[in-house]
Each structure stands twice: as structure tokens, then as C-alpha cells.
Symmetry: C3
Subunit: 266 residues, 3 copies
């Protein structure tokens, strides 16, 4: 059975390796895939988005463990959620919620049964002491109900909504990747609603006309906008960083105006 | 059989992948777990500490390979150590020693038998040419004695010791993690010896009173001290970096004073 | 069957993990090894060199997937190449070529058969939508010919050539690793042709006399030159960065002069 790990642990410390050791000790047959450990520290939204756009590429029955957990050791609850044949394990701070928000979980379990935790969990590392052993036991066939008590709800994040006023769509940058590509919350579906096939897209002081089919449709170092692998509008620079070139970051506004351009002729 | 890898190779180059290729070529059934490859270049102490605090989370019989090896190709000896059912492979520069220092190795072998090395080892990459193939052959069932001659000792690192003068404990920062959390050499056991339940903890110009139970027991961006997942006193900032906020680094002094605080009343 | 992944995806995003999910969904028995994901963005040469110097350490039959792909979604072709019992999958931009340039491929296939791609491939992520599923199907036993049409050629990179004028070899730095070691295009074989056993090596303002046998043959922080694990001349600093100390980078010239040094005596 497949277990994925998503954390903000970075790559300096042995923390991810330790979680894998715990899993291997409980279920040597478990296969573990790192989704990413490069989530910015404590960035619950980045982790929630990464998970949301990844789960459909994993086989049914995968166990997704997410440890971005600024409240570790405090009052936030540790969760196991089952939905549509997949499993989600992590803190109840919203980090699991964007992967789930188009569905209704079959089970929401608070991980209260210490039998499946390491002894005397530390206040700073529930990834090692609670989430990894629970994932390993679940992958070994322990039924979800064994891990604790049922809950009726869990913390949900909201993705910023796109607003529409006549011919103006207003969204924002919600994710910036390693290359400096800027992912917005404006979907291909939002854009399909526009009559104008070459809408005017604005981010900061940069204005673009229409979408490009691929990064190399503009010259090297030039900015373009396209529909990316998440199915959303992305601002990118061919072989460069849009984050740098547009001086833009997560939270910045992006607008799309769909007026037919003026001028004579056809 | 499980093999872990701990190196200072970083994440830019194919060096770790090459070691895994060598292992897979010798023993396709070996399972390899990365402990970390983010050890700062040549930082033998950081690697030794990472290994020390990780091995108990791996199943018995694990083979731990550590390649932080500034003396590669020179006079330092390549080692295989067996202790308490686990195996440790790496250069004889102390990097394996902190994981072993509470026990007595059953076997200390110098890796002199070239039969189990790649041909014509390069002077710069014994991870590929000696340590990986030895680990793979060991995981395939080759007995430890086959890899070379027995030694009676190996290089040992010392962890800086905590000193105690009446009501004053003096320790130091020995590790800083990805988040900027500062790990000290002062253990929970050292602190349990204090009569004062709210000792005064000082690092640089920062003074703290008592321990907190979890990171979020102080406000966001505030400093606190707690017992962490290694069982030692840690200086941390809730959702921030203690290394930055306290302007502190490995080697800096940390003191704990256990006088009952003055003032009237109970 | 073994699949390796080499990309410039970095470590912040879930992109590598997603590729592994796609592979696991198609062939759960495939074993995936990360060669590296730290190739500098769009650096086709760095990826081509990393692959070139890695493949001989992997077992016969390995499938090497490389995704450094600035032209993704545009006109560049997606390829599968079979050579000498190994397989190479990636964009036709030269990134596969240095691993192949001493041989003659048995098969060069353009990945035109959409049956083995994910549906509706995005313009920005052929690693997920084309290269990963093709690698997984290939590892499951689908014959190479099934993936598309045969081609007669593919894009090839050239490694800068070393020039020789009498007693002067002129090469250049072609790769800088994580430690700041500078790898040149001057091979051990090039140097063996020299009569002088202590040639004068120059990079920028740094001049060295002869080769050292290992990094620690010079004092800490001193520069030396040696034959490294790729079998080429490397400029290195004992426990430091030659890139920093020599202020040198990829593309900078390196010369080797093989005059016997003047002076009296033997």
C-alpha cells in the first residue's frame, strides 16, 4: 500500500528519514513516496494546494500524510480522514481540507488511540510519533475506526474566490513554484466563459494580451500567460522567473478584462 | 534489508542517485532510505548527531551508511562497525561514533577487501566506490568479516559536556535545524535534577522563564524553550526562527539558573 | 525494473512526487530512483553531463527519464531511445545525448502514441503526462515500438573540446558541484599524454603545480587539482569551495602547461 509524505521539514535534517524508519519498522512492505518536503515553513495553504493538485495522480487507496503543523503538541487535533477510497492523515489545521473539498468524507477520526502511537510522543514531532505510525498501521490493514473517535467536522481552508464584474475577472496569485511561475486561482473554466479570446491580463505593472500555448511561444525572458498543469491561469517567463520579473508574490491581484480590442477592420 | 544514507552531498548533483544505482546493481532487493543529504559540507558533528538521534527509529538489522568524508582518498580508514544488531558504514573520522557511544561494538572492520569495492576507486567518491557496494553486499548476506581486517578502535567524537555549578547549568547549542530551532546539549534529565520548576534560561541576550509545553504556548514570533524530540532543551520561536531572532548559532553558550524567583506572596 | 528520474524541478513543489504517483498507478512494481532534481532550471548541459556520468552505475535495462524541458508543450519532440540495453526518455533537446554519444542507438522513437499518455496533456508538464506514463508502461513490458514512430536522428549536444598546442592544453570548466568543486573537460587520458608529471595548471588567477592524490593533500582552504570521480581534472579546495575561492564558473578557461620546471639540480 502506498503512503505519500508532504511536509515543511526541508532537506537539512533527518526528520523525513526518521518517519520512514518508523513506517518500515511497522510495515516493511509499505511503499513511501515523497510528495514534497519543501513546503515553506508553516505554510498550510501551500501544502493544502500541493496535496489538492496531486492526489488524483495516485492510485486508489493511497494514504496521504501531511505534516505542516505549527500547532504540534498543542490543542489542535491529529486526524485521519477517509474519502472516496483514499486516506488523509495530518493535523486538523486545514492542511488536508483542499484535497477534500469537493467531496464528503466517509470517516473523520481523531487519532486518540495511543496504542498506535510511539510511546511518550514528543511535543515537537508528531510526524514521527503519531502520524507515521498511524499511517503504517493503516497500511498494514488496521481499520480506520481503531485509531480513535469519530468527529463530525474538521477545519477547512478557503481558496480565495474569483470575482466577476461584467467583463472583469479579479483573482490572485495563490502559489509560486520553484521556477518562479505564478499560479492564480483563475481556472480555465473561468476563462472559457469569456467572449474575448484575447483577454487583457494584468499582474502588477505587467499587461499581457491573450494566452500562449506553451512557454516558448514568447521569446526567452519574456512574460506570457497560459493554462498550466493545475488547470489554472499561470503567469510565466520563458526560461526565467515571473516572480522576479513581475515582482509579484502569493496574494497579489490578477485581473482579466475581456473587451474586444478596438481598431478598424475585421 | 534496509540501508540508510546520510551525506553532505546536497541535492544538486547525481551523487546520491549513483550510490543507489550501485546498490541496486548488487542487491536489487535492498530498500534504501535517505536519512538526510543536507548535512552542511564536511560537518562531521552534524552528521554524527543526526545519526545518533535516528537509529532507534529503524528496525533491527538496518545498515546505516554515512558519507561525510573530507579525508576521502587520503589516510583515513573506511569502516564497517556492527553493534547491537545494526551496522554502520563510513569513514573513520568520528561520524559514526555518536550513534555508538553508549555501547560496545561487536565488530570493527577496516574495509580493505577490494573484492567488494568497485574497480579502481576514485580518490574523491568512496561513497560510490567503497561504501555503497559494501553496504549492498552486506545486505545480500556477505558476513562482516569478509570485508576486511578487524580493528580494535575507531575515532570518537565528544559531545560538549554540560557543567553544573550549584544552581547554574552551562551548556551550548549543538545543532540548528531547518526551522532555526536551536538544539542544546542540556537534556531533560539534566533539567529534572533542578528544584526550580521555572528555571531562568539564557541564550545570548534572550532570557526565558520556565519551559513551555508546545511551540504555540507563546505568541507567534515569540521565543520559548521546551524539551524537543531528541529529549533535549530547545530554544524555538513560534512560527519563526530562533537562530535569527536570538542571533545564535551552534557553539553558543546556553545557561539555566534554578533559583526560585524573588517577590512576595506564595 | 528500475526507472531513474533527473529533472530541474527542485524540491519545493510536488512535481516529482506526482510523477512517481503516475508511475505507481501504472506499474506498482516499478522501482524509482532519483538521480537528481537539483539541475539548475533549464540547464540542459548540466543534466546531460549528470546523466552521462551516472548510467554505467545502474543495472542493465534501466529506464532513465530526464525532464529538463524549456520547450515543453511546443515543437520539440518527446523521445524514447534504446541503446545497449538501456532506455532513455525525455525531450529532444540534447539532454539525453551525452549519455549516448559513444554508441549507436538501436531505436529512436517519437512518443506520438497518445494511448500511453495521460489524457489531455497539459502544455507545461509532460513529465507527468507523457514521460512518466511512458516510462511506467515500458517498465511493464510494452515494447518500445508501441510508443510511436521511429526517427533517424535526435538533437545532440557537444561537449567543449580540449585543444592542444605543443605543450599547452586548453580546456574549460564544464560543471560545478554542490561543494564548489570545478569539473573540467580535461580527462585523465589527456593528462597522461604529457611528459611533465607536474604540469602547471591555471584557472583565473590561480596557478597550481602538479596533481594532488586527495583533497586533504593540501592544507584546509587551499586549492589543489586532482583526477575526480568522472575521470576528469577537477579544481578543488580542501574543505572549501573552489568556485568561491577561484571566483570561477562553468565556461571559464583552464590551461595545463607541461614544461619541465627550470632550476638547478636533479
Amino acid at each position: 500500500m502506498l503512503i505519500t509524505l508532504t511536509t515543511d521539514f526541508g532537506h537539512r535534517d533527518p526528520f523525513v528519514g526518521i518517519m520512514k524508519g518508523v513506517i518500515a519498522g511497522i510495515n516493511p512492505a509499505a511503499q513511501v513516496i515523497d510528495l514534497t518536503h519543501g513546503i515553506p515553513p508553516q505554510d498550510i495553504m501551500a501544502a493544502a494546494l500541493a496535496l489538492r493538485h496531486s492526489i488524483k495522480y495516485f492510485p486508489l487507496g493511497t494514504i496521504h500524510v501531511v505534516v505542516v503543523d505549527p500547532g504540534v503538541g498543542g490543542a489542535r487535533r491529529p486526524l485521519l480522514i477517509e474519502m472516496a477510497g483514499n486516506y488523509f492523515i495530518g493535523p486538523d489545521n486545514g492542511v488536508l481540507s483542499l484535497a477534500l473539498n469537493e467531496g464528503r468524507p466517509e470517516k473523520i477520526i481523531e487519532l486518540t488511540n495511543a496504542k498506535y502511537h510511539l510511546k511518550a510522543p514528543a511535543a515537537t514531532f508528531h510526524g514521527r510519533d503519531i502520524f507515521a505510525p498511524v499511517a503504517a498501521h493503516l497500511s498494514s490493514g488496521v481499520p480506520p475506526d481503531q485509531f480513535g473517535d469519530s468527529l463530525s467536522s474538521f477545519v477547512k481552508l478557503g481558496i480565495p474566490q474569483v470575482t466577476r464584474e461584467q467583463k472583469l475577472l479579479t483573482g490572485e496569485i495563490i502559489y509560486a513554484d520553484h521556477y518562479g511561475n505564478l499560479f492564480t486561482n483563475i481556472s480555465a473554466h473561468d476563462l472559457r466563459g469569456l467572449s474575448d479570446k484575447e483577454p487583457t491580463i494584468t499582474v502588477g505593472s505587467v499587461t499581457l494580451h491573450g494566452l500562449i500555448p506553451s512557454y516558448d511561444s514568447v521569446a526567452v525572458n519574456q512574460v506570457g500567460a497560459l493554462i498550466n498543469s493545475w488547470g489554472v491561469l499561470e503567469i510565466a517567463v520563458n526560461q526565467g522567473s515571473a516572480a522576479q520579473k513581475c515582482r509579484a508574490k502569493v496574494g497579489d491581484k490578477v485581473t482579466v478584462i475581456s473587451v474586444s480590442r478596438s481598431g478598424g477592420g475585421n
